[in-house]
């Protein structure tokens, strides 16, 4: 078998046992890896009674055939489990160097079940797997823990580690990955799943290569694409993801004041341009990535100094900054760093703080609830105090760590009306009133309000994918074609998450579907064509849907929060309209061959080869 080791590692933490299992090439071809195989295993090994924070919920991390191959921007992996935040399919895609080091230990994926009776970490290396005591680092933040774990294992190891938030089962806890850079598998509470198993970290370092079917052909195929990719991403690389903030605000895509406001005079203060001119010291890249969108920053003076390390990304600035109206870039950088240390999802944290600020403004919560903190819009210190409280699960932070939906239900007073989430997951910083395809994808994505499930905003603005039947950009504010474009993009993004390759390779069409299929065949020796590629993406998307429909998810849940369907923002030059979600959904279900209630039809299930599940 080429492109894979054909092996997964299984760890049972209740019994402190490990075992290697083989995977057939047929399964790899059908589900590829990453989210595909992760979803298959999760579907097979759970049922509707599986407690997301119970020992039977498997925590699964999967690499893909691209991992370790030098395919551009492929140093990534996908983590899945039933989400404690949403109760449904949980997933988080993460870059860095963990995937490559893990795959070099001889495994394609890892499935962790059970619960250790005391804190442990896994040390996976060329010679084997060790379950080691982690009592002495339990309670430490991710950075300190990582330093300790690298000293105890290998200085070049990469560490996937939870902080205090995951240990204490905050439902918006992620898993921080620390190797050559810092990256977070932030979304859907995967850190809490890890904490529920008393698993502090998974430390990896290996040297084993994966065989490649046609290494010379692959090298030849990479070369021109890499040059093109570098050229089209040079502006992105220079300013990073947050370089998009000013233009996205202009477009009406940037979230402000818990999604109430459309225009912000302070927007330039938090943009990637300001970061570039003030606190930026360098760039960081995930393994095998020439784009290097990560930001290295240094703050030497002022109330948030000293601070040195990874700077905040677009989404983190959108939520911790825009949604809370905090226009202080050092403060946002501090909050971002704290989220990485505590092991928290910056998106859900920022969004939940913004929700709490609105609840405070409406008098639903008061200083009596916040331990005296005046939770007013734009209050940077209050925002940072809340990050500490969420990370330590102190005071109101305990409730906020459950995410905005649970918080809304707990504080009552109709607060659910302004809790902005889909299926319990707070959206990232893209407004569906500006990009309807984004809205339709928020409503239908397996994990809830996920911007990465379709990347629709990019395909409304300019991108095309004739390879998969999107010859022109989707016209904004138009029902016609919106459902089909969204569904096709979702299927293709599933393939990106299965292979696993970074979304940003799409910028300027740096890498297209034909490149990806070519590489897949050169790596594996397969003869996959575009139709099979698309069907595989569709299979994975439907499998995730079936996981959710088994839990009772249907049309009633495929919706957008009231803020997106009833609040029309106003502002100079603003051009946005409320998405007609019902109409879009009907078209979408029809295109997908799902029932009017959003359940995949048997014919579709059979045609995708999902019957056996």
């Amino acid at each position: 078998m080429f492109g894979y080791h054909g092996k997964i590692l299984r760890v049972n933490l209740s019994k402190h046992t490990t075992e290697t299992r083989n995977i057939d090439e047929e399964d790899f071809r059908k589900y590829i890896g990453g989210v595909g195989l992760g979803a298959k295993i999760l579907y097979e090994e759970t049922d509707s009674n599986t407690d997301p924070l119970g020992p039977d919920n498997p925590l699964i991390a999967f690499t893909g055939p691209f991992t370790g191959s030098a395919a551009p921007s492929s140093g990534r992996h996908h983590i899945v489990a039933r989400s404690p935040l949403t109760g449904i399919f949980g997933e988080s895609n993460v870059g860095g160097s963990w995937a490559v080091h893990f795959k070099r230990t001889g495994f394609d994926g890892i499935v962790i079940t059970g619960k250790s009776d005391s804190p442990v970490y896994l040390w996976i290396h060329d010679k084997g797997v060790e379950i080691r005591d982690a009592t002495n680092i339990w309670g430490q933040d991710t950075f300190d823990s990582s330093d300790h774990l690298k000293d105890a294992t290998h200085k070049k190891a990469t560490v996937a580690v939870i902080g205090q938030a995951g240990e204490q089962l905050a439902k918006i806890a992620g898993i921080t990955h620390i190797g050559s850079n810092v990256r977070a598998a932030a979304r859907t509470g995967m850190g809490a799943v890890m904490g529920s198993k008393n698993l502090k970290a998974i430390v990896v370092y290996g040297t084993q290569k994966t065989p490649i079917a046609n290494p010379e052909g692959l090298k030849k195929s990479f070369k021109p694409v890499r040059l093109h990719l570098r050229e089209v991403t040079k502006t992105f690389s220079k300013f990073g993801t947050s370089g998009g903030i000013e233009n996205y605000e202009k477009l009406g895509n940037f979230p402000l004041k818990n999604w109430m406001q459309a225009r912000w005079k302070s927007v330039s203060k938090v943009s990637g341009f300001t970061m570039h001119d003030s606190i930026l010291t360098g760039k960081t890249a995930c393994h095998s990535c020439a784009i290097a969108c990560g930001r290295l920053i240094k703050i030497e003076n002022g109330p948030y100094a000293p601070l040195e390390g990874e700077g905040p990304e677009y989404e983190s600035i959108g939520t911790l900054g825009g949604e809370c109206l905090v226009d202080n870039l050092p403060a946002i950088s501090k909050a971002n760093e704290l989220c990485n240390r505590y092991g928290l999802d910056t998106i859900s944290v920022g969004a939940t703080i913004a929700f709490a600020m609105e609840a405070y403004e409406r008098g639903i919560i008061t200083v009596d609830d916040t331990d005296g903190v005046e939770l007013t819009w734009g209050n940077a210190d209050a925002m940072i105090t809340m990050v500490h409280k969420i990370g330590k699960r102190e005071g109101i932070g305990k409730l906020m760590g459950e995410g905005s939906l649970i918080m809304a239900r707990t504080i009552g007073h109709n607060a659910e009306e302004f809790a902005v989430h889909v299926k319990g997951l707070e959206p990232s910083a893209h407004d569906p009133r500006r990009f309807w395809s984004q809205g339709l994808s928020y409503a239908t994505a397996a994990r809830g309000a996920c911007h990465n499930a379709s990347w629709g905003h990019a395909y409304e603005l300019a991108l095309t994918m004739p390879e998969i039947g999107i010859p022109e950009p989707q016209e904004s504010y138009t029902v016609s074609g919106m459902a089909e474009t969204t569904a096709k993009l979702q299927n293709t993004m599933c393939m990106q998450d299965a292979l696993v390759i970074c979304r940003f390779t799409q910028i300027g069409k740096g890498v297209d579907v034909n490149n990806v299929i070519d590489w897949l065949n050169l790596i594996t020796g397969w003869d996959m064509d575009t139709d099979e590629f698309l069907e595989t993406g569709e299979r994975i998307f439907n499998l995730k849907r079936l996981f959710n429909t088994r839990l009772g998810i249907s049309r009633k849940d495929d919706t957008l929060p009231p803020r997106f369907t009833s609040l029309e923002r106003t502002g100079e030059g603003l051009n946005n309209k409320l998405p007609p979600i019902g109409q879009l959904l009907s078209d979408y279900y029809e295109f997908r061959n799902w029932s009017e209630f959003g359940i995949p039809n048997q014919e579709k299930i059979d045609s995708l080869g999902l019957k056996i599940l």
Binding site: V232, T233, G244, K250, F273, Y314, A462, L574
Partner: protein, 87 residues
């Protein structure tokens, strides 16, 4: 034509650029003109297709983003922003 540059573009070239056009031209042609006049803009404005453009720039007329083949004319007021896709 009045062109207003935003963000870092304003420090590379002048914040406001006046250009005189005798007839309507495409945005692509305008970008070529600008690069000749303000070579510092070349890394962002040397775009041949909409997809190239989307990797670097967004140009607005009356708050509507223009395509590379959109026509612009002498009495237009345009706004240029650096565009980063994704996030």
């Amino acid at each position: 034509m009045d062109i207003q540059l935003h963000g870092p573009l304003a420090s590379i070239a002048e914040k406001n650029i006046q250009i005189s056009l005798s007839k309507a031209i495409t945005l692509r042609q305008l970008l070529n003109l600008l690069v000749v006049r303000q070579p510092g803009l070349a890394p962002y404005a040397s775009c041949k297709t909409d997809i190239d453009l989307s990797a670097h720039l967004m140009v607005y007329k009356k708050d509507i983003p223009l395509k590379i083949d959109s026509k612009v004319e002498n009495n237009d007021h345009l706004q240029f922003f650096i565009h980063i896709m994704g996030g």
